[in-house]
Every structure is written in C-alpha cells, then in structure tokens.
Amino acid sequence: MSVPGAATARTAEPSNYLNAEYSIKSWFLTLDHKRIGLLYLAGLTFFFTLGGLFAVLIRLELLTPEGDLFQSETYNKLFTMHGIFMVFFFLLPSIPAVLGNFFLPLMIGARDLAFPKLNLLSWYIYMVGGLFTLYAMVAGGVDTGWTFYTPYSSVYANSHVIAAALGIFISGFSSILTGVNFIATIHTMRAPGLTWFRMPLFVWAHYATSLIMVLGTPVIAITIVLVAIERLFGVGIFDPAKGGDPILFQHLFWFYSHPAVYIMILPGMGVISEIVACFSRKRIFGYHIIAMSSLAIAVLGFLVWGHHMFVSGQSIYAGILFSLLSMLVAIPSAIKVFNWTATLYRGSIRFDTPMLYTLGFIGLFTIGGLTGIFLASLAVDVHVHDTYFIVAHFHYVMVGGMVMAYLGGLHFYWPKMFGRLYPETLAKIAAVMIFVGFNLTFFPQFLLGYLGMPRRYHAYPEEFQVLNVLSTAGASILGLGFALPMGYLIWSLFRGKPAGNNPWGASGLEWQTQSPPISHNFDEVPIVTEEAYAYDTLRPPAAASPEQEEVLHV
C-alpha cells in the first residue's frame, strides 16, 4: 500500500500518519501501528488473491465430472495450496493484523501498541513465513491437504512438505507476538476512565482471540517440528510402522486448529458488534454477556477438538465426550447471534454497505454454526464426514462469516483509515453480489455432501454435475464480487470524497480523532466518561427525526 491519497492533496490535508513521511524506509521500518496495519493489508491482499486463484482452478476442474483439466496429483496440490494460503496467511491474521493493529490502540485511547517493535517484527515474520510457503509452491507444491495428516505427510508424500510446514511454523510466531502485544496493550494502556466493561466489544473479542493465539499456537509449532523430525530423520512418532501413532498427530493438530477457527471468527464477531450497534443506532443488547461469551468461546474452544476425529479410530468414549462439549461451545456463539438480533429489534436501521455485510454475516454464520451441530453429532458425522457437506459448512463459517466481517469492517473503517469515502452504490452492488455468489457457490455443496460426494477428488459421478455447475457459476459471481472492492477501494484513495472524522456518526474514541488519524493518534489523552455504544445520547449524523427519537428511547 503506498500513499497516493495523501500525495494528491498534500497541501490541503492536515498532518496525518499517511503524509507525515514519504520515504520507503518510513514505511518498512515504521513503528506506527497504523502503518504496520497497512503493511499487513498489502500482504494479506496478496495471499488472498493467490488463494482465490487456486479456488478458481479447483472450481474449473469440477465443472465436468471427468478429471480432464488437471491430473489428480495437480488437483491435490491445488486444494492444498488454496487451504494453506487462505487459512494460515489470510484468515488467521486478517482482522487482528489489519483492523486490530490499526484500531485497538485508537479504541482504547492509546498512542500505539505496548510493543511497537515486536509489532513490526511480527509483520516481517509473517512475510518470511509466507515467502517460504511461496517457495514450496513454486518448487512444485504440497499435496497433503492443509491438515498435513500423518503418516502421509511425514513418510509418503513426495511434495515439498517441509518448506510449506516451515513457512507455517514461522508465521505462527507472528501470531504469538501479535497476541502478546494485544494482551499487554489492553491490560496496561487503556485511557483514563476506560474500565474493562466500558471497552468496545471489538477490544473484548481481540482480547479473547489473543489468549487463543498465545495458548494454542505453540502447540501447532511443535507438531510441525515433530512431522519434520519424522520426515527428515525417520524417528517413529506418528508412523505406526515404527511404533508411532498417527492419531496423536490429529490430537495435536486439532488442539490448535479447532481453536484457530475462533482466532478467525472472534475478531469478526467483534467487528459485527461495532457495526450492528452503529447502524441500528442503539446500545448493543446484552453488552456484558457478549463480552463474556467471547471469553467462553476462547476457553470452551479448546475442549472440543476431537470432533474432527470421530471416524479416525479415536476411542468412541472420547468421541462421546467431544461431541457433548462441542454442543456446549454452540451456546456462546448463539448468545451473540441472539444479542445482535435483539439489537436490531426496534433500532433505526440504516442499510449502508458495512451493515449489508453484517446482516449477511449474521445469516450465513448461523447456517455455518448450525450445520456444525449436525457435524458434532456422532452418527450424522459418520454419514457426512469427508464429504462436501464439511466443505460447505466451514466455508459458511470462514467465508460467509469471517470474510463478510472482514469486508464489512474494512468498509466501516476505510473512511477513518484513509479519510476518503468509497462509492456507496458500487459497494452495495458488490456486497449483494458477494452474498448471492457465495450462497450459489456453497449451498449446492451441502446437497452434494449429503448425497455423498467426497471432498478432495478431481472427478465425480455424473449425477453430481448439475449442482457442481451451479457451484462454479456461483464462484464466478463471488470472484467478481471480490474484485470490485479491490478496484473501487484503491480508486477511492485518489478520488474518494473526503470522509470527515465521523461519517457514520459512530460512538467510540477512534471516531473522535481526525481522519486519517495523526501519527500519535490523539492530541491529548482522551478521558472516558461513559460506556461504549452510548447511542441513546449520541446524535445521528443528520439530526434525528422525531420518529427516530421515539424509537431510540423505547
């Protein structure tokens, strides 16, 4: 990301973090959390595009029942690289690294994160990890699936497992550093008067996320090292031929990778809470319980990993335990959905672009979450395990949930980040296209999975073609929907209308400073005197009409 917006209006604009300095060094050695957030935005956009291109190739292959476009080995590499880039280099860092980095200090009235140098280091680590994985891709790819299941990955696979795994190992440290940084910042750098229960829910969500990052990520790092040791030195850890246990890998892998789902979705939920309150112009319903449900998700999320292993040969008794606990973790997620819905109730709702993404999130995440309950039931899971039902389920959570929240958040905060408005009509069209394209892509996959189409094959029986064609058609709409924001958001940097400091009339400290913010965020340390989401007392951007007043005070 360069600073074109600042360049065109250099004379007119007051000093801010974008026009404070222009040298390349001032970007690549910056300690400003806002600039680091933008560095992450550039990296993430690159990896998202790359992962998206792999998805395009996968959907093209699945247009016809015959495996005619790619060899099966090539296809294995395509879905593996799609999964690795999307999960480890887009979804996991996405909201925390971009919006979290940028807005967490602003929201708590701080000048920066607690450890600015660690913050910059985490970006470099992330990029180095990404480059290792890119190397694995260019050198010939990996074919193990993003899950690296043993003993295939540790003994039999002939692809570049170690390079890709090393990339993930390295990028894990960037996640840990971000987590430590956020926890320390939230504990020590809140503005005067900003008590824990006055913090925005975005901050609560990032606190919970950081706990998972710090407690979970070391386990995946060690697991990857164990795979590498078995692969390089033939030490029997997971290979049953040498006395190892392949299921042990799955335990270790999912101990991290299930909570990792919450690393991806929790920050998204934080963004949704902000947007729902702002565009309903209401206090958020059940503030305390939403904050606590984030922590509950962070803790309970660590107790359910065995639901990925019902048909792996894991003990059936452990299966029962993990099944019950998985039902439990649905509760805090449901609490959030109900609270957002209750916030909408009798609010004066505005359907601006961020709100469209938010409403999409609530619906799609609910479908993703509820199908998760199907999968957590032992008997149903046996039927749909390793079918497209799973693929549809986690794409509803990851794309329908997480990516919607990411885009919603990006649109919501864009005017604050760059001081420019994006073209609203175009943005609404893109949001609707993404919603329609997404459902057309992934809803047929629920049906395919239920009918028995297994995942991870490049060919399939002819009776599945109609649904697959629908899915590929949806993917092309979805792809176009994603391309639009990339275009108009960059356009808005040069030509967008000036946004003003608070275009949405939102509450929160981040909206009280200038857009784009000055380098040290606030001219004087803000003092917080009221709860977050005090929308009852806040004027809407255009003065509230009498009817709205009435609604607001019911």
Binding site: L215, F255, L303, G306, Q314, Y317, A318, L321
Partner: protein
C-alpha cells in the same frame, strides 16, 4: 521488567549449574534400569528443571500476580491437552468383528 530487582549473576550461574547437573543425572539414569519407574524418574527430573527455568530464568518468581496467572494458565492448558488426549488413549477398545 525494569521495575524488578535484577538478580545477582551467581543466582543465574547457580541455576545453570543445577540444570547441567540434572541433565547429567538424566543421562546417567538412562543407562540404569529401574523397571516401571524409568519414565517416572525421567519426568520428575524434567519437571524440576522446568520449575527452575520458569521461576528464575523466566523471572516468574519476581513477577506480578497477573503474570503468574498467565504463566499458570499455560500449564493449565497443557493439562487440557494431555488430559483430553489421554481420554482417547485410555478408553480405546477394539471394535467387534474388526480385528
């Protein structure tokens, strides 16, 4: 960190020496046969080393209550990992007609 007293160097060297001695002990014990106790003894020595590293090298001994809670929660999470994994290993039974 800066507001904590810095430990005298001899404490670090003392801990370092103890760790080396325990490593030597582990190596020696690996060549002895204590039957069922082999693993237990190795784990006990390893645990002592962990405590030394955490309390002195990682400064948890002089840290605030909050830092201690975070350090402790790390171990609690390790117990979750072990406990739930063992819930699988301890209850595995063969499926009838399978083996």
């Amino acid at each position: 960190m800066s507001d904590h007293d810095v430990l005298p160097l001899r404490v670090y060297f003392g801990v370092f020496g103890t760790l080396l001695a325990l490593t030597g002990l582990t190596t020696w014990i690996a060549y002895q046969d204590f039957g069922n106790l082999n693993t237990t003894i190795a784990l006990v020595i390893a645990s002592i080393k962990v405590v030394l590293v955490v309390l002195w090298f990682m400064h948890v001994k002089q840290s605030s209550g909050l830092v201690r809670i975070f350090a402790l929660s790390g171990f609690f999470w390790l117990m979750i990992l072990f406990g739930y994994t063992l819930s699988d290993y301890f209850t595995r039974t063969s499926v009838r007609g399978w083996e």
